[in-house]
């Protein structure tokens, strides 16, 4: 029996004698493996940055949104525009929660919108984040200059605002913003502070392109509504977040006069659940990638099989010579199988190298964060080995079965 090292050597020799062909054959595997590893590094990177921003916000956040997102039908109705529970949450709910909850540090309402913000003749589109005075601590707003709006601003529906760095750059330039009057949707607001830059979030949104105003002002003077988009609450510790979530649910059900058996008109989520959702998204992503990978590897494998069949025919005489000097059928089988596996693994390694380069480039020159981990690399290598074996076995068997005399006579 021929030694394994020997057949690896023969395989490399034979591939080296036709480099371009070997490379073109490997291309399918290179692209397949490269795409998968690169995509997975993007996926992992996104997951990591989302996780770390979740940790940034604090893993004891509870988010209450209107409408029951656990009910399928709700989603369907929403699709039809019948957003029946849109107004389910109000500032009163926040007050009740704050008053009754034991496991909470506090709660803050929020209305999110996008509006035109202008100063003199300059204007820009920015997100408007309306909340109450507790947002400063709960939502982690860090005031750079000036002050945050306080309880009396909220009570009196004061026309005051804090602006983010991007907005400052766009409409103020070098002018000192504090004390100036800007227009939000045509209404005048006095700037009382600026917010520390936060950078972009994991989806690439500029978090500094924002203004924040008291929620009462937003409700009464800008939008003419009496409900809020969401309520953010903070549990006292990370460990009792589930108890705190249940508590919020209980309080709100009571406040909304829901009878037992009646479903919620709101949804309570906490960070652990968000992480779960994230996991689901990642799974979908992984399945999609795997299907693409499967197809790419299949195509690559067929390419390998094709070229190996050509190679067996071309080298019929060589096979005859080897058999004439004592190669057994299994020696020839091993030789050609090794060759196809070497082909596919080399393709896999090149694909991984390609993915690593792409991932580094993306990391450095785009807003995407990527993360190369061992798992996709091992996965890619094992899959390319399997592809090489699977698609190499038939050509190798054809080679092994050749009759030595006929092989030697082959022109």
């Amino acid at each position: 029996m021929i030694r394994f090292a020997e057949s690896v050597k023969i395989a490399f020799q034979s591939l080296a004698s036709n480099k371009l062909r070997a490379f073109l054959t490997m291309l399918g595997i290179i692209i397949g493996v490269g795409a998968v590893v690169a995509m997975m590094s993007i996926g992992y990177g996104a997951q990591e940055s989302v996780l770390s921003s979740v940790q940034d916000i604090g893993s004891n956040m509870i988010i209450v949104t209107p409408g029951n997102q656990d009910e399928e039908q709700q989603g369907f109705e929403r699709m039809l525009g019948e957003d029946k529970d849109r107004d389910a949450l109000t500032i009163d709910d926040v007050k009740v929660i704050e008053k009754e909850a034991e496991f909470l540090n506090g709660a803050a309402p929020a209305i999110l919108n996008a509006s035109i913000v202008s100063y003199l003749n300059k204007n820009t589109r920015a997100s408007v984040y309306a909340s109450d005075e507790e947002a400063e601590s709960i939502y982690n707003f860090k005031v750079q200059d000036g002050r945050f709006y306080n309880a009396s601003d909220v009570k009196n529906t004061s026309n005051v605002a804090l602006v983010g760095q991007t907005v400052i750059n766009k409409i103020f330039g070098k002018i000192e913003p504090i004390g100036k009057i800007i227009k939000i949707d045509g209404k005048n607001f006095t700037i009382i502070g600026t917010i520390e830059p936060k950078g972009t979030d994991q989806f690439g949104n500029d978090q500094d392109n924002s203004v924040t105003i008291p929620i009462t002002t937003a409700q009464q003077k800008l939008y003419g509504i009496d409900y809020v988009n969401m309520i953010i609450a903070q549990s006292t510790t990370e460990d009792n977040i589930d108890e705190a979530s249940e508590e919020v649910e209980r309080i709100l059900r009571k406040a909304h006069n829901l009878r037992p058996g009646q479903s919620n008109d709101f949804t309570v989520r906490n960070q652990t659940q968000l992480v779960d959702v994230l996991g689901t998204i990642t799974n979908i992503f992984t399945i999609t990638i795997s299907s693409i990978a499967g197809i790419a590897l299949l195509v690559g494998g067929i390419g390998i099989m094709n070229i190996m069949l050509v190679s067996v025919t071309e080298r019929t005489r060589e096979i005859g010579i080897r058999k004439a000097v004592g190669a057994k059928n299994k020696d020839i089988l091993l030789q050609f199988l090794t060759e196809s596996v070497v082909l596919s693994i080399t393709g896999g390694v090149m694909g991984i190298a390609f993915a690593v380069i792409v991932s580094i480039i993306l990391n450095r020159f785009t807003i995407l964060t990527t993360s190369i981990t061992l798992f996709p690399i091992i996965l890619a290598l094992s899959f390319s080995t399997v592809v090489g074996l699977f698609f190499g076995i038939y050509p190798a068997m054809r080679a092994a079965r050749l009759n030595p005399i006929e092989a030697l006579r082959y022109e």
Partner: protein, 260 residues
């Protein structure tokens, strides 16, 4: 294993009785051998001659265990070859037989050393040092020192055939089979090849060659004539031509061939 049962004396290495071979090409049947009886003693140097298509190559292939007869018995060193499976036949080709072809049949991508080494990579017991020694011995036997790293395309026909002979020798087989080994060579180079065969024969190897040239056949001790798949004549050469002697009388054509 069958016992030897006929006239062949105890030092008989090849014993063929009633061997026939029929090739089927669609509906047409070509009878290549029709009951050949042939006995070769150990250490003999035999030439097989005959017109084209008379079955010489077919017979050689059967003797070399590259092919199996349709009928008849072939005992190789008293072993009935027809009872062996593919793996055992490969083993015999590897250990007991060295084959030399008219068209050299070297691996074009491998250099001389790698070509010579080929039988060794398919044999179990030759490791490292032993392997090197065997290759060096074979190289010496065919006087190819200095051409180790050359590929077949960089060698002359005579040198290629010497690489092929070295390859046939490397596993120290008992029998060397050469199917028209000088067929593609000029007379001087052919004579050199015959000199190598004669040396090997003197060292005890059993050698069978197929040739069309009587001049070449006269270097052996027995000529077997084949016609239409049957042996019809045998001739004992009392005084085989010595290739060494011949080379001395021949013009030094070799120098011109090598361009030196």
């Amino acid at each position: 294993m069958n016992e030897v049962k006929n006239s062949c004396s105890n030092n008989c290495i090849i014993d063929i009785t009633g061997v026939s071979k029929i090739y089927k090409l669609g509906k047409v049947q070509v009878v290549a051998l029709r009951g050949v009886d042939l006995k070769i003693r150990e250490g003999e140097f035999v030439a097989i001659m005959g017109p084209s298509g008379s079955g010489k190559s077919t017979l050689m292939n059967i003797i070399g265990c590259l092919d199996i007869p349709d009928n008849g018995i072939y005992l190789l060193e008293n072993t009935d070859v027809s009872e062996l499976n593919d793996n055992q036949l490969a083993e015999i080709r590897n250990k007991k037989i060295g084959f030399v072809f008219q068209t050299f049949n070297l691996l074009s991508r491998s250099n001389a050393i790698e070509n010579i080494e080929l039988p060794l990579i398919y044999s179990k017991k030759t490791a490292g040092k032993n392997r090197k020694a065997k290759i060096t011995d074979s190289l010496d036997a065919v006087r190819l020192k200095g051409w180790e790293k050359h590929r077949p395309s960089e060698l002359s026909g005579g040198q290629r055939q010497r690489v092929a002979i070295a390859r046939a020798l490397v596993n120290d087989p008992a029998i060397i089979l050469a199917d028209e080994p000088t067929g593609n060579l000029d007379s001087v180079t052919g004579e050199e090849i015959m000199a190598i065969f004669q040396e090997l024969n003197n060292q005890g190897k059993t050698i069978l060659i197929v040739t069309h040239e009587l001049d070449i056949a006269r270097h052996t001790s027995r000529i077997i004539y084949l016609r239409d798949g049957l042996i019809f004549k045998e001739e004992i050469i009392k005084e085989p031509v010595s290739a060494r002697q011949m080379l001395k009388t021949m013009p030094k054509l070799e120098d011109k061939i090598k361009g030196g």
